[in-house]
Subunit: 298 residues, 2 copies
């Protein structure tokens, strides 16, 4: 059985009874496990984390769209977080026994079904999008629900599936496939935030650094430490150990050492096993040698 993760972001975070109904339709989908969900009232948004195989996830996605489209009206929705639809974003993430190609296929399959069943336009993003201008979620969402009708009148913004204008109350949705994100921070043995900012600029993709790194330098006021705070968007292609070693070397340039690093939230075991392999100079090693993989026959 393949394990795919899906993390739908829904534009409702103030009515707990409504959020609970969304959680319920996910829970009731056979073959799907709801791992976690949380709401933010100021964002007026909830995030669900579910896992399952291809078909069950598709069914859970459609069930969630049905419930959310009935309960949410973007015309009266307010909140700090940018959004353009009732079910705003749905990424599919390959975890185990599934490839990125499987997740791209699932995004297209679910996107087509959402468009045809609910009349909601769907934009594909990240790995599911073939259009380089429409890979980034931020680009697709720019203008938000309020600017969507005007945006979609340009031929650059015809949706991948569904009608050429927004659904009156449910807006549009962004569905795609991506690698698991890793939130990774490196704390420096200094209180000089400018050192962290320079290192962040050196390491992040947007200013010339590694391709799958987003980074910023911040000050941890409570500990009086500078931190390079990062999001790693593809740990296979830009591995953690390379980032760590570059940050360590850049810090030396300023007479600063690395105090520690930290992973916030979840990390796939493979990301850490890759790091062990690098430092231990492991050769002839395969994931089938990891006992847990053998036990589960994967």
């Amino acid at each position: 059985m393949a394990i795919i993760e899906s993390i739908p972001n829904v534009s409702e975070g103030r009515r707990p009874d409504v959020v609970e109904r969304f959680a319920d339709v996910i829970r009731k989908t056979s073959g799907v496990r709801l791992l976690d969900y949380s709401s933010d009232a100021s964002h007026n948004r909830s995030v669900f984390t579910l896992v399952g195989d291809y078909e069950p996830l598709k069914l859970a996605t459609l069930a969630l769209f049905k419930e959310a489209a009935a309960a949410i009206d973007l015309r009266t929705h307010t909140g700090e977080h940018p959004r353009l639809g009732a079910v705003d974003v749905v990424p599919f993430v390959p975890i185990e026994g599934a490839t990125m190609e499987d997740c791209v296929r699932l995004a297209k399959d679910a996107g087509a079904a959402v468009a045809s069943q609910f009349g909601i336009p769907v934009f594909l993003y990240e790995e599911a999008s073939a259009n380089p201008l429409r890979k980034n979620l931020e680009d697709i969402r720019r203008g938000e629900f309020e600017g969507l009708a005007a945006k979609m009148s340009s031929k650059d913004w015809a949706p991948d599936f569904g009608p050429g204008q927004p659904h009156p109350s449910a807006g549009a949705s962004v569905i795609g496939a991506r690698m698991p994100l890793i939130a990774y921070n490196i704390n420096l043995n200094t209180d000089r935030v400018e050192v962290a900012k320079k290192i962040a600029a050196a390491i992040r993709h947007s200013s010339g650094g590694l391709r799958y790194v987003k980074a910023m330098g911040i000050k941890l006021e409570d500990r009086n430490l500078a931190q390079v705070s990062m999001n790693l968007t593809n740990y296979q292609k830009t591995p953690i150990f390379r980032i760590f070693e570059i940050v360590k070397r850049e810090a030396e340039r300023y007479g600063v050492s690395v105090l520690e690093s930290e992973i916030v939230g979840l990390v796939p075991s493979a990301a850490l096993i890759d790091a062990a392999g690098f430092y231990l100079q492991l050769e002839r090693f395969g994931s089938e040698q990891v006992l847990e993989n053998k036990l589960r026959g994967s």
Copy 2:
């Protein structure tokens, strides 16, 4: 559900039909999965690898003893490998959701049942043994089946369970609990085997090194390389990264560098994740942050 591994070693490796019957009684035990088994004719011995929860493993162990005691007669058994019983050794190894204490309890529980159901004396070993003179398998097995009756006549060698003399045809058995073994080698950028031998002597427990390391220096003739070949008997207390770093430092002393390292066979993911944590200086990290653990609710 807990996952415990058991690796019974049985004194039969020349009659494939008999070995197949042993495999069958394991396979037929509900809740147990037979991962692997192999026979060595010159050793006249077979090794089975099975996993399951506490009770199913106990039942599989008893079923195997029943079949093996009926099929094997130590009085006519020959083979290169030292042995003192039909089912010679049974280690229980904690893998997931089970502690070493669980495995010690299982070893005692299964040992008592073997003794009472089949009249076979049982010696506890490794973590299951409270007697420091009877922890090592080699010490217990010294003298083999042929010397067992004389050995057991000493009060130092009264068994932990069962009669004070060997079972006439099935001998005695050694049952215990231990950590998973890791077979780990470090290849040096040199053909000087004496460098590998000196490093092995520095790192291994028996000559003053790390507690849970067995090591020897050998020459890989086909690659013309010296190798430090090791068995790691407790990766939690003597972690891989510490061994690697010490070997690297000792090699420097001889002007030699580490070419690569290798893991032979299986390794628990935690052993590699610990190494990643060391090199990445990870703080505030727990195994519950590993995605796969979260997925399986362990």
